[in-house]
C-alpha cells in the first residue's frame, strides 16, 4: 500500500530549493515515496555553446543532489528539461502523474514566494507544496482552514491523513467573515437571524466535521470571526504551525468562501510551508497488487481502516460480504467503519447483522465439525 508514490521537486539549486529537498526527504522517508528532482534550463536557442556549458553545470549539480538523496536511501530520478520553468513543471507533474509538487518559495528578497512557485500555485492542477523559509525539522502541527467547499474538504482529508501518518496535531479552523461586511451580512441574514449567527455557524462547522474520520488524531477546532487571510496568518504567527493545508477554489468559486484570493494572500505572506489543493489529492491510495482471496481482501480492508481510508475500507468489506454473506468479522468491521464516518444508523444495522450471524454460527457449531468453523473464523478476528 502506497499513499504518496511520487513527489516532484523542482530545483534551481538555490538555498530555498535545498530546503524543499530537505522537506521532501522527510515526506519521502515516511511514505517510501520516489523523488523526481527536476531542473528546467532556459532555452538558449542557437547559442549551443552556452547551452552545452549550462548543461554540464546542471549535470554536476543534479549529480550532487542524486548522491545526497541516495545517501539518505531515498529513491530518486533526476530530470533535466529545457523551457519555461513553471510550464515544464506542470507538464512533468501531469506526465509523470506525481502526487505533489514540492517547491522552495524562492527569492527571499521580495518576502513572498518566487514567481515560479506563485504561478504554479495558481495554475497547477496537482497539489503544490510551497516550502517556506522556516526551518524544516518535522511536521508537528498542521493547520487546515476550511470553508466547506470541495477544495477545502479535499485539503482537510489530506490533512487528516498527513496528521495520522506523522502523528501531528491538527488544527481545523473556519473563519467566518460574514459579520464583517454589511453586504454579506445582509445576504446571510436572509437565512440566519443575527443573534444566533455564531451558534448556527458552530453547528454547521461541527456537522461538517462529523463527515470526516478523526479517530486517533489530536484535533483542535477553531471558529473565528474575521477576515480569513488575516486570521490564518495571525494564528500561524502566534502558534507554532509547521504546515498549512488549504483548498484554493480559484476565481470561479463562490466569492465569499476561502477563494483563490485567500490562499494567495496567505501564500504571499508565507508564514509557514503551505500546500494548496485544487482538484487532486496528495495522498492517493495505491495498492500493491490486486487481491482475489476473500481473507486477503478483508485484511486489506482492515489495514485501510487503520490508516483512515474509511470509504475504501467499506468497499473492501462490502466485497467480502458479497462473496460470503455469512462472514461475520466483515459485518463488524463494516459497522466500525460507519461509526467512524458518523453513520450511526447503518452501523447499528450492520452490528445487528454481525451478532445474528455469530449466534447462528454458535448454534451450528454444536453440530458441525470444527473444520468449517475454522474456515470462517480462522485467525481473522
Amino acid at each position: 500500500m502506497k499513499l504518496i508514490e511520487k513527489i516532484l521537486v523542482p530545483t534551481d539549486f538555490s538555498l530555498s530549493s535545498e530546503k524543499a529537498i530537505d522537506a521532501a526527504i522527510i515526506v519521502a522517508k515516511k511514505f517510501n515515496s520516489r523523488l523526481l528532482v527536476l531542473h528546467v534550463m532556459p532555452d538558449l536557442g542557437e547559442d549551443r555553446l552556452n547551452q552545452v556549458k549550462l548543461k554540464d553545470f546542471v549535470d554536476i549539480q543534479m549529480e550532487k543532489i542524486t548522491q545526497r538523496l541516495n545517501s539518505q536511501n531515498v529513491g530518486v530520478e533526476a530530470l533535466i528539461e529545457t523551457g519555461i520553468p513553471f510550464l515544464k513543471i506542470m507538464q512533468i507533474a501531469e506526465l509523470k502523474d506525481v502526487n505533489v509538487v514540492m517547491i522552495g518559495a524562492g527569492s527571499p528578497a521580495t518576502g513572498g514566494p518566487g514567481t515560479t512557485a506563485e504561478k504554479l500555485m495558481h495554475k497547477s492542477i496537482k497539489p503544490v507544496w510551497v516550502i517556506g523559509e522556516q526551518k524544516v525539522s518535522g511536521i508537528k502541527r498542521i493547520l487546515c482552514p476550511i470553508d466547506f467547499s470541495d477544495a477545502s474538504d479535499r485539503a482537510l482529508n489530506n490533512a487528516i491523513h498527513l496528521a495520522r501518518q506523522f502523528g501531528s496535531e491538527l488544527i481545523i479552523m473556519h473563519v467566518n467573515d460574514s459579520l464583517l461586511s454589511p453586504y454579506l451580512r445582509l445576504k446571510e441574514s436572509l437565512r440566519l437571524s443575527s443573534s444566533d449567527d455564531q451558534k448556527a455557524f458552530s453547528d454547521r462547522f461541527e456537522k461538517h466535521l462529523q463527515r470526516f474520520d478523526l479517530l486517533n488524531i489530536k484535533v483542535e477546532k477553531l471558529l473565528i470571526a474575521g477576515s480569513p487571510a488575516t486570521e490564518i496568518i495571525n494564528l500561524v504567527q502566534h502558534q507554532k504551525i509547521d504546515l498549512i493545508l488549504m483548498g484554493s477554489v480559484g476565481r470561479t468559486g463562490h466569492p465569499r468562501m476561502l477563494t483563490g484570493a485567500t490562499a494567495r494572500v496567505v501564500l504571499r505572506a508565507l508564514p509557514a510551508s503551505i500546500v494548496v489543493f485544487k482538484s487532486e489529492n496528495i495522498i492517493q491510495l495505491k495498492l500493491d497488487k490486486e487481491l482475489t482471496d476473500i481473507h486477503a481482501k478483508f485484511g486489506q480492508g482492515k489495514q485501510l481502516l487503520e490508516n483512515g481510508f474509511t470509504k475504501e475500507a467499506i468497499a473492501y468489506f462490502t466485497y467480502c460480504l458479497n462473496e460470503d454473506p455469512l462472514y461475520a468479522p466483515a459485518w463488524e468491521k463494516l459497522a466500525d467503519a460507519h461509526i467512524r464516518i458518523g453513520d450511526m444508523q447503518n452501523a447499528g444495522i450492520y452490528q445487528a447483522k454481525a451478532k445474528e450471524i455469530r449466534e447462528k454460527l454458535w448454534a451450528q457449531r454444536v453440530e458441525s465439525e470444527v473444520k468449517k468453523r475454522h474456515a470462517l473464523f480462522g485467525g481473522e478476528n
Binding site: D12, L44, E46, D47, R48, L49, N50, V52, K53, L54
Partner: protein, 303 residues
Amino acid sequence: MYRFNRLLVAIDFTAKDHTLISYSRQIAELADSSRIYFVHIAGNLEIPDEIRDKYPAVTEPLDEYAVKKMKTLAADIFDGRPKPELLFEVGEGETVSNLLRQIKIKDIDLVLVGKSGGHDADTAVAEKLARKAPCSVLIIPEGAHPFYKKVVLATDFSNHSLDALDVTGAFTHSAGLDSFTCLHVYNVPTGYYKTGKSYEQFAGIMEKNATDQFMAQMRLVDLKNVNPHLELILDKYPEEKIISYVAEHHSDFLVMGTRGRAGGAGILLGSVTEQVIRKTTIPLLAVKKKGTGLDLLQALLEN
C-alpha cells in the same frame, strides 16, 4: 589519400559531434593525416544575462570552456594516440564565413561538417561550405556510423568527377575494399528525334557513350587493385536517382565531384551535388580540387 593532410572538423556541440570526430579519426588513419583542427564558431562569446542572473555559479569564460569541452570530446575518441596532432580553435561570429577563413588560413585539405535530419540551419552550413570551401568537404548526417563497406561514386565523367574517381580509388584502397560502385545517371536529350532515331536507339547510344567515357577515365587514374563496377541508370532526375540508389543498395559512403559539366561558369554550379547534400542520409564526400575555390565567388563573398 595523400590529399587529406590537414583536416578541419566543425564542432557545433550537438549530438552530431561524436560521429564527426569518429569519422575524422578514421579518415586521419586512412589518409595518414598530420593535423586535425577542431573548430567551433560561436555566435557570441559573452555569457548571456539570463544565465548570469539565474546561475551565478557559472563564471568560466566561454572560449576556455569550449576548448576544454572539445578536448574531452576528442580525447574520448582519439584515446591519446600521438598522431595526428589535435588542435582546437574557437571563433566568434557568423559560422560559414569564419569557417571559410579558418580553412584558408590553416591550409585545410578536408572539412568535416555535420548535418541534421531536417532542412534547417545545419544543412545550410553544410551546403554553403560545400559550395564555397576551397577544399573537399565531407558531410556527415546525424547518426551515421563510421564504418563503410559499400562505397558509391556518383559521376558525370567531367573533370571534377575524374578527381572524385581518383579520391574514391585511393579511399577504398586504404579502407581495404576491393571494389566500389561507379554510378552514372544519363538522360536522352530532348532533341533526339531530329536525328531520326527512336528513343530506345538513342538511349543505347547514350549508354555506350557513358561506358566509353568510364573506360577513358579509368585509364587516366591509377586505382591500384580496386575494381570499380559501372552502374548506369536512365533517368531525367539524377539527384533523386542517386538518393534512391544508395538507399536501395544500403550503401554507406557516397562520393561526388562538386562541380558539374558546366565547368567554372559561375555560382549556380554543381546543383546536383547540392540537391544530394540536402537530401542525403549517408556521409557524402564532396571532392573539390584544392584551391579551386572560385576567385570570383570569394571576391563576391568578401564584399
